[in-house]
């Protein structure tokens, strides 16, 4: 395959967009509120499964499930956050990763979610739409690439989310979040209800994770719990540190760079099995995290002063 292959770049674009939406929530939490959310994969899992189960088990139209999937993730965010946001930041990190593991574990073992077999057959409507959209795209000479409708949908939503988050950041609401990141005691002393703002931040991150989960489900055609292990969240952190903390533009840049690197591995023509290449990807992500957190923690677009996270 050539590096100019369109399918390759569309594939990178799809996965980069999904991780981008996912990482926007982390950026809001980590970069702008100072919350070490390690449970983002759990929220994503809830969103994706809510969609899959509503379509397959209850026969809902796929678009109608999106608000419910978001609401389910937001509710989970509030339930997790209410007790754990009072804890110190490192304990909060442990509590959220435990939450993500619980979600994955329950879905793996509980009968209602299909167990390890997962959920299949929720995307018929989407495939119809994609086929229809491909026909239209064929009219302008873009009918070859089946993934193109998904790519456009994802990046449209991604762009919209970036715009909304950027606007929010400039509002008084965003100002309070930044103040909490900088010094939550001082923010509380000035009359801000720190817990309430942190909860809102976490809830919005959960909603973004649910949207990412929705698109991930469309991309993988069947859902199984292994898809959502905490490593997924760690990839999100790799996006943040590549692009830069406290910068939404950084998320866009970071996710493109990360996935071009990861997927680009295949052009190296290494004499390795696919399993070995798979391992190598993760080693690469790990090295990225270690090296950048030592050498350039603010990432490509971030400012160093904005990533001081207190105990």
């Amino acid at each position: 395959m050539s590096i100019l292959n369109a399918d390759f770049w569309i594939g990178v674009g799809v996965i980069a967009g999904i991780y981008g939406i996912f990482a926007l929530g982390l950026q809001l939490n980590v970069g702008l509120t100072g919350l070490l959310n390690l449970g983002q994969a759990g929220f994503m899992c809830i969103g994706a499964y809510a969609m899959g189960m509503l379509v397959v088990d209850a026969g809902w139209p796929i678009l109608a499930t999106l608000p419910v999937a978001i609401a389910a993730a937001v509710l989970a965010g509030v339930l997790v956050g209410l007790p754990s946001l009072r804890l110190r930041s490192d304990y909060f990190a442990i509590a959220t990763i435990a939450f993500a593991e619980i979600v994955r574990y329950v879905l793996q073992n509980a009968a209602f979610a299909g167990g390890n077999q997962g959920i299949i057959g929720y995307d018929a409507e989407w495939r119809d739409f994609a086929a229809w959209a491909s026909d239209r795209l064929a009219a302008i000479g873009l009918g070859e690439q089946m993934q193109l409708p998904l790519l456009f949908s994802i990046w449209l939503v991604f762009a919209l989310c970036v715009a909304v988050l950027r606007w929010l950041r400039r509002t008084p609401w965003g100002r309070v979040l930044t103040a909490i990141r900088e010094d939550e005691d001082a923010a509380a002393a000035l009359g801000k209800n720190v817990l309430a703002f942190k909860l809102q931040s976490l809830a919005i991150a959960a909603a973004l994770a649910a949207i990412a989960g929705f698109f991930l489900a469309l991309n993988v055609t069947y859902l199984y719990p292994g898809e959502f292990d905490p490593t997924f969240t760690f990839f999100g952190y790799a996006v943040l540190i590549l692009g830069g903390f406290a910068s939404y533009g950084g998320v866009v840049l970071g996710t493109i760079v990360l996935w071009t690197l990861i997927e680009g591995l295949r052009f190296l023509d290494l004499p390795l099995s696919s399993g070995e290449v798979g391992s190598l990807r993760f080693v690469l992500v790990g090295l990225t995290l270690v090296v950048l957190s030592m050498a350039r923690p603010q990432g490509l677009l971030g400012r160093r002063a904005e990533m001081q996270l207190r105990q």
Binding site: D185, A186, G191
Partner: protein, 266 residues
């Protein structure tokens, strides 16, 4: 809004037999006093006397082990810090706490009270009201910065300010919350004398024009004697004396516990 000694107005803050220990350390052990409305009161005492801990207890940053705290006649012990502030009781910190990666102006504007723009729903539902309030908050913030000689710094990150400037910013920022009672933990530490004296002039003026009440911790006895209407002395977690500056100056217990120490230091 007079504050003569015989004023019948009820005290704005009452602290009654408050206790707080950390492990084995009795930081506050049975402190009691009342603050007269509209007065400028100094809280003095040697290092480790429990002054800062007392501030933490009053403003909800720590819960007292025992005792009662009433602000405007209502109990406030155990309230979270933001509720205390919303009732009109604000504090500053001994070790200054500015939002380093925010601009000086944003530090100030953040503290404005009742901003519709801070609510996610109100951001949309009360868009125009939010924008209007934001404009007003900005005006007030700029005026206050001007008053504290910080207007040249409005656009700079607060992290770039000097220690003294941070003290000023913290006081100015606290005032943005429209308080009726202000607790200042060593507001003059590190501030040069001219500016410090301006700061105290401002405090006196706010007391006169807005009727605000002040309680401040200060180690410099000259300042305490010249500026305070009333002095409370703490040692080892308890209030050991209180009265007018002159009475305190003459009180042998105070000389014993504090002034002797302060004199030998300077």
């Amino acid at each position: 809004m007079t504050h003569s000694a015989g004023s019948p107005a009820p005290p704005i803050l009452v602290v009654e037999d408050v206790h707080k220990s950390f492990g084995g350390v009795r930081a506050v052990a049975g402190a009691s006093f009342a603050l007269q409305r509209g007065a400028i009161t100094a809280l003095i005492g040697p290092n480790g006397a429990g002054k800062t801990t007392l501030f933490d207890l009053i403003t909800g940053f720590a819960a007292p082990d025992a005792g009662a705290i009433r602000f405007e006649g209502k109990p406030i012990e155990g309230l979270p810090p933001h509720s205390v502030t919303r009732r009109g009781l604000v504090r500053t910190f001994q070790l200054t706490r500015v939002f380093a990666a925010m601009t000086v102006l944003d530090n100030m504007m953040l503290a404005g009270r009742g901003q519709p723009g801070e609510g996610l729903l109100q951001l949309i539902a009360r868009r125009t009201a939010g924008q209007r309030v934001e404009g007003e908050v900005r005006e007030r913030a700029l005026a206050a910065l001007h008053r504290f000689d910080l207007d040249g710094k409005a656009g700079d990150y607060a992290g770039t300010l000097s220690g003294g400037q941070r003290k000023l910013l913290e006081l100015a920022r606290a005032l943005m919350t429209d308080p009726t009672l202000v607790l200042l933990d060593e507001p003059m530490a590190g501030v040069n004398r001219v500016l410090g004296s301006r700061l105290l002039d401002d405090v006196e003026e706010l007391r006169r024009t807005a009727g605000m009440t002040f309680l401040f911790v200060e180690h410099d006895m000259d300042i305490v004697m010249r500026r305070a209407d009333h002095v409370i002395v703490m040692a080892e977690g308890a209030v050991i004396a209180e009265g007018s500056p002159d009475a305190i100056r003459a009180d042998p217990r105070v000389i014993d516990a504090y002034l002797g120490q302060a004199r030998s230091r300077t």
